[in-house]
Amino acid sequence: MTDLTESLEGRAIIITGAAGGIGAAAAKAVAAKGANVLVVDLFADRLAPVAEAVNAAGGGRAVAFAADCTSEDDMAKMAETCLAEFGAIDALVAAAGILRASEGLKTLAQMPYEEFRKVVDVNLTGTFLANRAVLPAMLSAKRGDIINISSVSGKHGRAFDSAYSASKFGVIGLTESLAEEVQRDGVRVQSLLPDAVDTGIWAQSGTAALKPRAMLTPEHLGLFITYMLELPRDAFVVNQVVAPIPQRKKRVKAKA
């Protein structure tokens, strides 16, 4: 790495949805580069082991903070806690998200209002509240990084995914709008669009779920998020899709 690459050593990074999946992998990946992480999730019981794993790994320090990303109060306290623990908020990775509010696939016609609203609350409004909470500290430091996790479903809708897809389209719009508002002030805002990742989110589809054949691991996304945070500060990547690498054909070398 050249010296242009941003060092994450000693940086303070908030990660929502950090109890599992992409959020947990991102926490481990950036902590391995020396960043301190405030790992945030609704599920305190599953969050504690992630913080313990980070702290046992000997990189940056992790502090667990149980919070609901749809609560204005919780998100404000999240920012306060990061400042109190680490003295700064250098980056936010907003990874909290759900696929469905109840088990099983539903068409839009079958979708109860409450279920639709729940998905949009967590995925879109939760991203808004987490972003808004960290902005004052970043704007006053004239420096910061925000990465919002959208999805390939943020570019293309699919049957049975109306709420999820709508929320992830929304995350891209929110990210682009915020980028125009604050990038001139040193706060870099990017979104990441994972294709199929092998996380617990698939269980939310119940037995009806057809898991894709090829999937990324959460660790792949941890690596890519690290790359985005380490990018030289004059560049940003636009709504990047990250997908499983195509399966390689079995090669049989012709005999001479």
């Binding site: 870099r188 030289p232 500060r233 560049a235 709504n239 990047q240 690498i245 195509p246």
Partner: protein, 255 residues
Amino acid sequence: MSFEDEVALVTGATSGIGRTIALELARRGATVVGVGRDPARLAALKAELAAISDANHAAIAADVASEADMERVKAALAERGGVEVCVASAVAKIPGFPPRTKDLSLADWNTQIDVNLNGVFLANKICIDMMLEQGDGDIVNIASSTTPDGLKGTPMAPAYCASKFAISAYSKTIAAELAEEGIRVHAFHPGAIDTPLIANTSLGMAYGGKMSPESVAVALVGLIELGREMGIPEPFFLPVPQPRAAPATASEDTK
């Protein structure tokens, strides 16, 4: 180092991002075969590469639009045992102020299509056989985010935009052809970069900032490395806009 024992071809290697990508690949362990046209700049590139490592780097004078010239480049790659990375970065610069499309000569149009598009095809073509033989390889074609909103038309850059749109489409085609053979194809779409190509043209002004060629090289070479583990389709990189300059009246006051 991530590109240790690998051979990397870089066209357009004597200036702009071709040069910084060549140097970044060398820093990360690659043996670089750089292609350019200007003998003095080629000599300078060779010296810069030699200062980074004592690998068997080459700086070759060749026209990327000439099949015969590119066959010579292919021989240089073969001498070094093959090629793992192909970066097609050469682009034609038409001197003078960019004309309106109605005033663009066919000769200037053809020069840009020859170098920007046909040059990419030929650079890829000389590498693909060797990559198929290895069952491995990375091809990176430098397209462009022709506007801050992605691939859209820019006034007074018809041949440039046409060639860059074409690179994007062409790269998708060979990506689909070669994916199962273990060859990864990236069409890299950068926005405005601080290079001679776009100085004083409409291509650079809309972004509110420019990326340094060094930053772009770090971003791109990092992407090639990550791309070996995951699919990263059609990456677009844009400059982070710079703070707006103080109003003109403020600078008047300070005089």
